[in-house]
């Protein structure tokens, strides 16, 4: 056990003994996300670095405190990437970490084609609420020994334990990318995106905002030429396109600035335009709908649920309505049970996911 892990484990054991609440934190870039921040800060950044990376295995193992940018740079040098394009949300002076990235479980524009962060988690080393260092999953693509605890940690917001190390599947970067632009209504965009998704087009990102649909195509040069011809639209200059997708991923696009509450609605992709007051920006072929809206949280959540999805209060000054959609009784019983299995004293990130966890 390294000195850093030893010191983290000592802190956790002491907190468990004393019943002290701990707030797990990497760069703090996602402090805004989720529920309340409670407890003494346990900084994961002293446990840092890429532990193992062999590009031909398509797997990288990194410690929790590794800056996400450093990990992505190391992958980029070998022509590889984190295909789920996790948002960093880094500000000057604070850099996202790998541990925080997995704990938040957020994915970026490429999720539409490549899958979500949880789809790329292969293994994890966890420091549980008793201060024990536990290893789940591994560094291979296929592994069905034991319950899939490593994947369960994706999006758990640090409520189950300290993610010390994580193994992620990586993929080659696409040879070429091209962005196409179309002017159309939201309803037309949703219809087109769903029709295209049922055909083998190399679409790797799609947004609709303010009457403009943008598609990013990724793949071999010949395939992109053929797809562009079939799909139509006008080409966007490469540099502007790269900036645009980065701005969407990192929420630096002007849509995301300002103070009105930012809602994240996850719905089945085919759901028609939601009749909700506020400005929308669609991603993931229509399955992710960002909404700037001052509507009653209850109304929004009911609308999302009717569509077969859920609504998260992503950024807001007032989160008294709860960051995440409420769970039914059985779900909450199971989730509380899982929390207690990993963190029996309830010391980690209390209230970050739900007040009950």
């Amino acid at each position: 056990m390294s000195e850093a892990v030893q010191s983290l484990a000592d802190r956790v054991r002491a907190a468990a003994d004393a019943g002290t609440r701990l707030r797990l934190r990497g760069g703090g870039t996602k402090d805004f996300y989720g529920g309340t921040l409670e407890g003494e800060v346990l900084d994961t950044r002293l446990h840092s670095g890429i532990a193992r990376y062999d590009p031909t295995e398509l797997v990288v193992t990194a410690r929790a405190g590794t800056p996400l940018a450093a990990l992505e740079a190391a992958l980029g040098e070998k022509g590889q990437m984190l295909a789920f394009e996790p948002p960093h949300f880094s500000q000057s002076g604070s850099a996202a970490t790998v541990g925080g990235c997995v704990a938040a479980g957020l994915s970026g524009p490429r999720r539409i084609a490549a899958g979500a962060l949880r789809d790329f988690v292969l293994g994890a080393v966890l420091l549980d609420g008793r201060g024990r260092v536990l290893r789940f999953g591994g560094e291979v693509m296929k592994n069905v020994a034991g319950y899939d605890v490593a994947r369960l940690l994706a999006g758990s917001l640090g409520t189950l334990g300290v993610i010390l190390e994580v193994s992620l599947k990586v993929l080659p970067r696409p040879v070429e990318e091209q962005t196409r632009r179309f002017e159309c209504s939201q309803a037309e965009a949703i219809e087109r995106l769903n029709a295209w998704a049922g055909q083998p087009h190399p679409i790797s990102a799609a947004t609709w905002h303010a009457g403009v649909l943008r598609l990013r195509l990724s793949g071999a040069a010949a395939a992109l030429r053929a797809a562009a011809a079939r799909l139509g639209g006008e080409a966007v200059a490469a540099h502007a396109a790269a900036q645009y997708w980065d701005a969407v991923r990192e929420q630096r696009h002007p849509f995301f600035s300002g103070d009105s509450p930012l809602w994240r609605l996850a719905v089945p992709a085919g759901t028609g335009p939601l009749a909700l007051a506020g400005e929308p920006l669609l991603e993931w072929g229509g399955a992710l709908r960002w909404l700037r809206s001052d509507l009653e949280p209850m109304l929004l959540r009911e609308a999302a649920a009717r569509a077969g999805g859920h609504a998260t209060l992503f950024r807001a000054r007032n989160k008294s309505a709860g960051a995440f959609a409420p769970l039914n009784a059985l779900q909450m019983r199971l989730q509380r049970g899982l929390k207690a299995a990993f963190d029996p004293q309830g010391i980690f990130n209390r209230g970050r996911l739900y007040p009950e966890l």
């Binding site: 031909t56 295995e57 591994g138 693509m141 369960l152 189950l160 049922g198 040069a221 049970g337 299995a341």
Partner: protein, 496 residues
């Protein structure tokens, strides 16, 4: 391999009581307890372990299933769920004091939505049937375990099944959006969603691959993909198995993710070629099958790239499938590898370890040494793209001594997989078969977490007990008895 430690005798009075309770709401033909009716359920695809269940229940509706679970829970009867019974790890091995819950009658396709690209099916629907039903829409369900014509989607969810295309298209966990079902207490639940995610912990991820230990599912929503316009496969020969392994790494290093990337060694290709005449090069030490799919432009570019990489890696012969018939013929050999072994040996025992690909040469040399040590043949088929090995030990189960040698052979291979940084099972599950090797892969603290997770869903431990996760006592016993490399652990301690 490890049989389980539970009591093997059926108690007639208990059997009568349980059958009577189930017949109160199940039709007579849905409750089996006469030995001639229950015997067909005595084993799954792993035939080395057999046990006749106390009672077999075959509910036909969700309401019947819910009441079956409630009744068993109230009477504290263990329940072993079963799909098509094709599993290779004994995950559906019955219990002599338990109800074998067959989901075979849940075989309807409930909904196909070609626009949303989802199909909602009951768990007894066969894997291949999903792709057949949605084919008119130009869609398919990607995971394709070799048993896909027989295995059910419910079993695929329980085992997190893979197949030959999972490097590019993922496992069951990447292709199932939602499951509905009942807890052991008969409470209905939905895990996952047709939306891209759900709030709270990802219970869908936890349920998939849980080997029937956490809940019983009644409905599965799968993701459908547009069928690639074209697929072509390159078949390449190598004069050395390790060169073939290095070629696989070279393909990945070149930034290519083939739709399928499979390897077979000479003993495997020879057995298969005699059986299905796939056109394999039986003189090669190993052959690779590398598939590309996509638009015609993508495939043309990728096939040319793959050929160039394989040639530079020392391929001695390469053939590209000219049409769909030839492509399917090349794959037919790989998919028929297991039955082909059945023709050249009375029995075969299939392993399922996964290793980091860079250790392939070392592991294959280790297996070759074990062939000599145990006097048993072991051809290898290998999902090369994702590191999942399927060595097949050939043996005769009627020879008790040979069976025992096979078990020791297999145990050594699995432990080698763990030692090189891999896992004891890539896609077949632990079941009863690899339960002792779980003690090698995981420490007591990790197994304790698994047991704690199980208790959250099933506090009384009634769902498929004795499978997948060993008790700590069992591991302690196994550790004491375990001989490794001719040496007991802690040889300084007195024994017996």
């Amino acid at each position: 391999m490890g049989a389980d430690e539970r009591n093997p005798a059926i108690e007639p009075r208990r059997q009568q009581a349980v059958a009577a309770a189930l017949r109160a709401f199940l039709p007579p033909q849905s409750v089996l307890y006469e030995a001639e009716d229950t015997r067909p359920y005595e084993c799954d695809g792993l035939t080395a372990y057999r046990r006749v269940p106390m009672v077999v229940a075959l509910p036909e509706t969700e309401e019947q299933l819910r009441r079956t679970l409630q009744t068993c829970h109230a009477m504290e009867v263990p329940v072993v769920p079963r799909g098509a019974g094709t599993g290779l790890s004994g995950g559906a091995l019955p219990l002599a004091d338990g109800v074998l819950l067959s989901m075979a009658k849940f075989m309807r396709v409930l909904r196909v939505d070609p626009v949303a690209r989802v199909a909602v099916v009951q768990p007894g629907v066969r894997n291949a049937a999903i792709s057949d039903v949605v084919a008119p829409f130009g869609l398919y369900y990607a995971p394709d375990p070799s048993s896909q014509i027989a295995c059910s989607i419910g079993g695929n969810v329980a085992e997190n099944s893979g197949g030959v295309h999972c490097l590019k298209y993922g496992l069951t966990v990447h292709n199932v959006l939602q499951v509905k079902g009942y807890t052991v207490e008969g409470e209905p639940f939905t895990f996952g969603s047709e939306a891209p995610d759900t709030p709270g912990y990802d219970l869908l991820a936890l349920a998939i691959g849980s080997e029937g230990l956490l809940a019983v599912i009644t409905e599965v929503t799968v993701k459908l993909l547009p069928k690639p316009q074209l697929a072509q496969v390159v078949m390449a020969s190598f004069d050395d198995v390790e060169k073939a392994g290095a070629a696989v790494a070279a393909v990945i290093a070149a930034g290519i993710i083939p739709a399928g990337l499979e390897m077979m060694d000479r003993p495997a290709t020879r057995a298969v070629e005699d059986f299905v005449h796939a056109g394999y090069d039986v003189d090669a030490a190993a052959i690779l099958l590398a598939e590309s799919d996509g638009t015609p432009e993508e495939v043309a570019e990728e096939i040319a790239h793959i050929k160039a990489v394989l040639e530079a890696a020392g391929a001695t012969r390469m053939t590209v499938s000219r049409d769909e018939a030839e492509r399917l013929r090349f794959w037919s050999g790989r998919k028929a590898a297991f039955p082909a072994m059945g023709r050249i040996s009375p029995d075969y025992y299939c392993m399922d370890g996964t290793i980091p690909r860079r250790r392939l040469g070392e592991v294959l040399r280790f297996i070759a040494e074990l062939e000599k040590k145990y006097g048993l043949r072991c051809p290898n088929v290998f999902h090369a793209g994702d590191g999942n090995l399927h060595p097949l030990i050939l043996f005769d189960a009627n020879d008790a001594q040979e069976l025992e040698r096979t078990e020791r052979f297999a145990a050594e291979v699995l432990e080698k997989c763990v030692e090189v940084g891999g896992t004891i099972t890539g896609e077949h599950g632990v079941g009863v078969e690899k339960i002792d090797q779980m003690c090698v892969q995981f420490r007591d603290e990790e197994l304790e977490i698994f047991h704690a997770v199980k208790r959250v869903f099933d506090p009384k431990g009634l769902l498929n007990p004795g499978k997948a996760v060993p008790t700590l006592q069992r591991c302690a016993e196994f550790g004491r008895m375990h001989v490794r490399g001719g040496q007991l652990k802690h040889p300084e301690l007195p024994r017996f």
